[in-house]
Symmetry: C2
Subunit: 431 residues, 2 copies
Amino acid sequence: MASLRSALLPFARVSLRTRHAQLPSLPPSLGLMRGYKSRGPARDPMTGEMIALPDIDPSLLKLEPTSSPKIRPPSSTLIFGRTFTDHMLTIRWSSNSGWQAPVIGPYRPLELDPSSTVLHYAFTAFEGMKAYRNEDGTVRLFRPDMNMARLNRSAARAALPTFDPKALETLIKKLVMLDSEWIPNEPGYSLYIRPTLIGTQNALGVGPNSDALLFVICSPVGPYYASGYKPVQLLATKKYVRAWPGGTGSHKLGVNYGPGIVPQSEAAKEGYSQNLWLFGEDDALTEVGTMNLFVAFKKPDGGVELATPPLGDLVLPGVTRDSVLALARGHIKGEKIPGLPDNLTVTERKVVMGELEEAEKNGTLSEVFGTGTAAVISVVDRIGYNGRDITIPTGPRGLGPIAESLLSRVTDIQTGKIEHEWSIVANDVRL
Amino acid sequence: MASLRSALLPFARVSLRTRHAQLPSLPPSLGLMRGYKSRGPARDPMTGEMIALPDIDPSLLKLEPTSSPKIRPPSSTLIFGRTFTDHMLTIRWSSNSGWQAPVIGPYRPLELDPSSTVLHYAFTAFEGMKAYRNEDGTVRLFRPDMNMARLNRSAARAALPTFDPKALETLIKKLVMLDSEWIPNEPGYSLYIRPTLIGTQNALGVGPNSDALLFVICSPVGPYYASGYKPVQLLATKKYVRAWPGGTGSHKLGVNYGPGIVPQSEAAKEGYSQNLWLFGEDDALTEVGTMNLFVAFKKPDGGVELATPPLGDLVLPGVTRDSVLALARGHIKGEKIPGLPDNLTVTERKVVMGELEEAEKNGTLSEVFGTGTAAVISVVDRIGYNGRDITIPTGPRGLGPIAESLLSRVTDIQTGKIEHEWSIVANDVRL
């Protein structure tokens, strides 16, 4: 068995146990479950023992370059997520056959049966990551291992198949290098990469997916702050709740995004850019729009506390969030970052709206900002709450010293200006 | 203006205000919102006033019958939601042009750009309804107005376009009549109808959809209880929470379904068919799997209380739930249903697990069942809770007197055996 397993599972970093956890044999069940046929993994015909299915295998890649490359638009005309490169990566999966040979081919429409489960039951997990072109011409990804790990966690929560993270990272490098001319040369520009995993079973029964499709598309994007830093305004929202204990808020699933648009539109009508998502009777801060949240408080001893809500069911484990925390903690330990206060403390703790009101009154509310892949850091200067606005100083440049220092350090690492283990060179991949 | 509006909006039952509420002009915003271009409704070039966009118009229907009808499988081989009829209805919408001409054409794959918003942010709302063939050959829909109204509510919550409910109902009748030979003749069989509304904007910015697609597919299905009534077993779930105040649990959105599969699989591993969804510290019952929930308690005065959790953010307003409530209340008012207790009370109220435990002990736990379109009524005989099982009597026929009476009455109305205003004949529609 061992040799058969290893033959079938050359990149098997996902344990059999994990894989099996997503493919239980379900008995006939209520409602739409009727008639759902369990399609568990293959079993050994002699022993009945479960056999591991093939994982993603980059050596099987079918490279089908486009015969009609698109004309690349001028960088200055780019709108986020509207322009896509020449190629896309697709990898099909089925519960009978596992992951099939990856294909990098022309960017083109997907053909989906109208009964595909993603269209009905929202079986979709995705990632957002970026590739940067360094001045020396190298192409770099930022902490792709974090995205691969998170996509696997999301997949497991959505009853979608998991995969070897290194294998997908390798294939994304190949895609990015094939389309590397699409990464704009101008400073601040990058290539936004969108890995997406969807359920493609052609059946209306609500159950684990027998079929799935992993695809990766790429979009050249401009700098978030094309014309200087512009602070945003938030409406602290009590009517709608983004996430709750026992829900899916800590996974990067489509289900966490669609329901946020109506609340966002309502905030917009009141003159705010985005929602500040609260939770619980004491109005704890959780996230802002589609970003993680940081608050800086001045402390009585002259120091500064940089606080962010703790991970758990209410908060997405953001890559930028993790990076900001690590850099700030490194600063405290001696890997100094210019501009950050000497007397800094970093906390992951519950922050409630009452604290912000109190700190505004006392003059100790120093900075508020969101973190995410698109903007890296997005500064907040006003929060609508209980009928009045809490104002946060942002200084003459539109962002406070902590936001500015961390934004600068993160982008220097992303673009390779500062060498760091987080910045992964993609050029060494073989096409 | 009035004449222009009425010319453009021949079926305008959706108010301008409702429509506008979904198409706000959003300022540039955080995170993925960057670069989102608001595509609000058209404006009058002279006055700048908003012009109503075309609603769904059945008179514009393009009928494109298939040239290669499929071979219909024997009814006995049907599995829920796996076989689809020859045709489908599709209607495209854009924020610039409104609803376009409906098309009934061959069932075939949808071509979706990989950036389509439904694949990333779960912009999908759907309905489940059925068409029945009466013994006299008429084809009947069951309360389609309820489904149309709910789909409009779901659409509004998901930032998708709303529509004239009567227009879509008419088009669904046309589709069903065109494919009416697909409704099996055998008793208990029906045609499951799945209207689905998805966001099809080709952009990764998270915002209101500039494009959407409404499609309707049909699947012949067998009786839920093909071989006698089989009670199901539930695991009362505290680890996962289906819905939350301020969430989307009361809307028929895809986002409420995908996240339920892993909890269901975990219940299956412990020998239960489905989850009983609880909420709050007192473990209030909300829903069961993808169905609404009813509990019957014997009362000290010899009467019976039929209780169901009240509507609100935690419970989907089910069509079968509403029908069961109305029939039971009608019985109390004098429209007697054979088999229902004379001394019946009907309540929409909070029911907590402690009550079920107490009632089991006292011998007053009479019946527990789920209601939904697929099974109509699905009887529960065991609920796993806090490490032990609560058992519910189901009698020799596998379902108690209330479940049996209501199931019989609802199906008699659905199939036209009992004439009722809920049963809508589809045959009068012109193709």
